[in-house]
């Protein structure tokens, strides 16, 4: 693992665990009138959003996809639901359309930038999954002691 990837992993892990602690704190828990399944589902959505936000912050604001992801998170918190694909540029490669939908901010990028941002996004996603897996394994093994 390169030094930068290690740093990214550490940075993400710290932010993500901090978020988990906040999500898990007693004050943040909903009232017990909700069914257990609903509580778990709602919390899983918070965990998922925390994972993506933590990674976007850890990766840094010099990347377009991190800025797009964090601004989308902010507007979603204000309950706006737009996923508009604006001004699609550079349709040299037919498959790029699907890729644009998968990479945050992809619909606004030129082809070259899209490919660069995609490469970085993919690497960060892989780190995110690896860390989430390690945290889940850690909690699993602890609870079975």
């Amino acid at each position: 693992m390169s030094a930068t990837t290690e740093q990214l992993e550490r940075n993400f892990t710290h932010r993500f665990l901090t978020s988990l602690r906040r999500i898990n704190s007693p004050d943040s828990k909903t009232t017990t009138t909700h069914a257990a399944g609903l509580v778990i589902r709602r919390r899983s959505l918070r965990i998922k959003r925390a994972a993506y936000s933590s990674m976007a912050r850890a990766a840094g604001s010099h990347r377009a996809w991190t800025r797009a992801l964090l601004s989308r998170a902010r507007s979603q918190r204000r309950r706006q639901q737009h996923d508009v694909h604006r001004r699609r540029q550079g349709r040299e490669m037919g498959r790029a359309g699907k890729l644009r939908g998968l990479v945050p901010g992809g619909s606004r990028m030129e082809m070259g930038q899209l490919l660069e941002e995609t490469a970085h996004y993919v690497q960060c996603l892989a780190v995110q999954v690896r860390v989430m897996q390690a945290v889940a394994d850690h909690f699993s093994s602890s609870s079975s002691m």
Binding site: I40, G90, L102, M111, Q123, L125, V129, M132, F139
Partner: protein, 94 residues
């Protein structure tokens, strides 16, 4: 890596060259588990194939994040003060 701005200021061409595009596609190919280790890794995989595999890979990563989030949520459900102490110790490790 130098940050290359796609917006140009002087010349009219805002698109990057074909060669640069192919370089980026090759770089992307190296990141994909499906294509990285295949015996065709030394050959140039068609760009459309690389983009297709990239989409598949990103979707599978998104699904893993979904699954892991649900798994973590269930695990936190069983958490108690001991788990909270674990989280603290993990944070101290950093």
């Amino acid at each position: 890596m130098s940050s290359r701005r796609s917006r140009s200021r002087q010349s009219g061409s805002s698109r990057i060259s074909e060669d640069q595009l192919l370089d980026l596609v090759t770089k992307l190919q190296q990141l994909l588990p499906e294509l990285r280790n295949s015996r065709r890794a030394d050959k140039q995989v068609p760009a459309a194939k690389v983009l297709q595999e990239t989409c598949n890979y990103i979707r599978s990563l998104h699904r893993e994040v979904d699954d892991l989030s649900e798994r973590l949520s269930g695990l936190l459900e069983t958490t108690d003060s001991a788990q909270a102490a674990l989280i603290r110790s993990l944070l101290n490790y950093n």
